[in-house]
Symmetry: C2
Subunit: 352 residues, 2 copies
DNA sequence: CGATTCCATGGAATCGATTCCAAGCCATCG
DNA sequence: CGATGGCTTGGAATCGATTCCATGGAATCG
């Protein structure tokens, strides 16, 4: 009933536990005879080594932890998939934790991972240098940041260079005649939230678009906040003709809200989202996205982590992003916004 | 540098390891004085108990395994999320494995979970009674099937009753004048593949629809097979006017293929999918789905697993499904199929 | 042919936390 | 006043696999 131990295997094979261990872990100091008998005995008993005991003795567990922000976000679901596959190829199993965009739940999971003595951790960090992240670094646990970073914490990272993609997006919108672009920002507590907003602001300036601060609304990377953001953008005296969302879930929330109000995307208003996920091309209308390779990000993260575990200090990786234009933004801006607004009696900062 | 052990804590607190252990695990046989000193010392050293050592001694790891078929399938991503939350509430961490719809990878993960001595496993099984599943049962490891089952393996399960939803779907299609419904089946190696096909066949008979076996094409629950299925359905001499896919990913593949061919969904052909995921309502056109509650399924699975771990033999749970009609199927069938077909010279089994 | 090396092997220690068991202490009771 | 009982405590064994160290036998070399 109780699972077989290596001693049971050894007894059945007529050797000592030491020899059985050597055979089963591929130590060359074993005779062919012993090898045959032990292997046969192990198969006979359906022996599965107790990973805990093994990990206790060697000081490594052959497992890594992956902490993502939200598994239901397709971007992170794909990331989890890629990381898991890449880790498996390198002989590691992945323990997946889901912070659910909450710093508290992130800490709880990191504690668990530390307790389980994972050999390394890949984390898309919440907030700024929470206690658990500090612990991770202080203990010298190999760590890699993915997608996001934490300022002041010196850890290798794999991030997306939002600049190119956002510049393309803004250029694209400007080229179609948009002057006022509503921006649904990520939370300032996430590095991606801050960086993308900064990139967006720079791009606006480059193209001489309206820099009205009222056009920037902050969300939390989840769908509901996208809806809320659209609501407040539409209340502006001078609402935007295009909306740019800092991630796919907020874009979806925005789309829902626009649909509920009967505002036609791709006709009355343009919508562009950071991230480009499979579903975008099937939506009504197909959504313009800013693409970056999840596959590349996941594989790079595992590669960096393996390097850190090997004692190296790998350089950070920055992946490119680029615009994938689709129907949601591929139209010329209408002469007048369809949303009822008072005539712009004092058109401010609109260069002719 | 090396992480602090309970002996370090005990030394700093001036007590024995035994007492330190008792304090830290909440054993009441401790004096307030000892409690205070040990707790202070543990905080001082930032002590994290080695979960492996603890699990080795107690014969439980406070962790469960969850093996899903494909994390990139939104249905399973949601399931993973729900199970994880419910397990966390019960004090368990979840080790997520992804079989990627491959029996081999499933076995590899189950082996890992067995080696790590998880306290229980929730699995959406691939194939029929693979060796690892047999091992699981033979070892008496608490196991619960979710979404799918394996015939002949007596394990509590949480499944969806496909019958009601499919009957509604077929009635809905019949009501709109469809006689020939193409069915994209799941693989016969999955219980859901078989059951849904059987339910569909029954529903066809009930409504007197065309039971042409050529209208049934098998896929593998992944997107590419949905595209392939549509391709072969359209080659029929007498192609269907409606398409029913046994899961969301195959439906997406089907939609892509139809769009590529310029066939208008919701006008030229109806599309209905088993599963109803968030994105369906945003698609072009919104897709009719057969809904079942992932949340309920995940929570029930955890509840059942806890019961099995407590030595009970809970009854299986069967959750309802129901149709959510949307634009992709909400139209009357056109008088003649738009796809060019030879005139039906010998219309077979079409009751007037 | 004796001595040195090489190789396979077993005994025992080890990893870190838990827990059984025995012992010590204080208080209460007969 | 001695004894019994209730508490707290420490020593030591334990979980299962790995690994250091020593040993015995075979093989090789001078």
């Amino acid at each position: 009933m109780d699972p077989a131990t290596i001693r049971d295997v050894a007894a059945l094979a007529g050797v000592s536990a030491a020899t059985a261990s050597r055979v089963l872990s591929g130590n060359p100091a074993t005779s062919p005879a012993a090898r045959a008998r032990v292997e046969h005995a192990a198969r006979e008993l359906d022996f599965r080594p107790n990973a805990q005991a093994r990990a206790l003795r060697r000081t490594r567990s052959d497992s890594i932890g992956l902490l993502v922000s939200d598994v239901r976000n397709p971007f992170f679901a794909d990331l989890a998939h890629t990381v898991e596959q890449a880790a498996l190829e390198a002989g590691y199993v992945t323990l997946l934790g889901n912070a659910n965009e909450s710093e508290q739940q992130q800490d709880r999971y990191l504690d668990t991972l530390i307790s389980r003595r994972v050999d390394g951790v890949i984390v898309a960090p919440q907030g700024d240098g929470s206690s658990s992240i500090a612990t991770l670094v202080a203990r010298g646990i190999p760590t890699v940041f993915v997608d996001r970073t934490v300022p002041g914490v010196d850890v290798p990272s794999v991030t997306t260079d939002s600049d190119a993609g956002l510049r393309e997006a803004v250029a694209h919108l400007a080229g179609h005649g948009h002057r006022r672009v509503g921006y649904i920002a990520g939370p300032p507590t996430a590095s991606t939230g801050r960086e993308r907003l900064a990139a967006h602001t720079r791009a606006l300036a480059e193209h001489g678009l309206d820099a009205d601060p009222a056009l920037v609304v902050s969300g939390d990377f989840q769908a509901a906040s996208g809806s809320a953001a659209v609501r407040s953008l539409l209340e502006l005296a001078h609402p935007p003709t295009a909306i740019l969302a800092a991630d796919s879930l907020m874009a979806v929330g925005a789309v829902r809200q626009l649909q509920e109000r009967g505002i036609r995307i791709g006709v009355d208003v343009a919508v562009v989202a950071f991230d480009d996920i499979e579903w975008f091309s099937l939506m009504n209308p197909p959504l313009t996205g800013i693409a970056h390779s999840v596959e590349a990000m996941g594989r790079a993260a595992v590669r960096l982590l393996l390097a850190v575990m090997a004692g190296e200090r790998p350089d950070p990786v920055r992946l490119p992003s680029s615009l994938v234009p689709r129907a949601s933004s591929d139209f010329a801006v209408p002469a007048r916004p369809v949303v009822a607004v008072p005539p712009p009696s004092t058109p401010r900062e609109q260069p002719s």
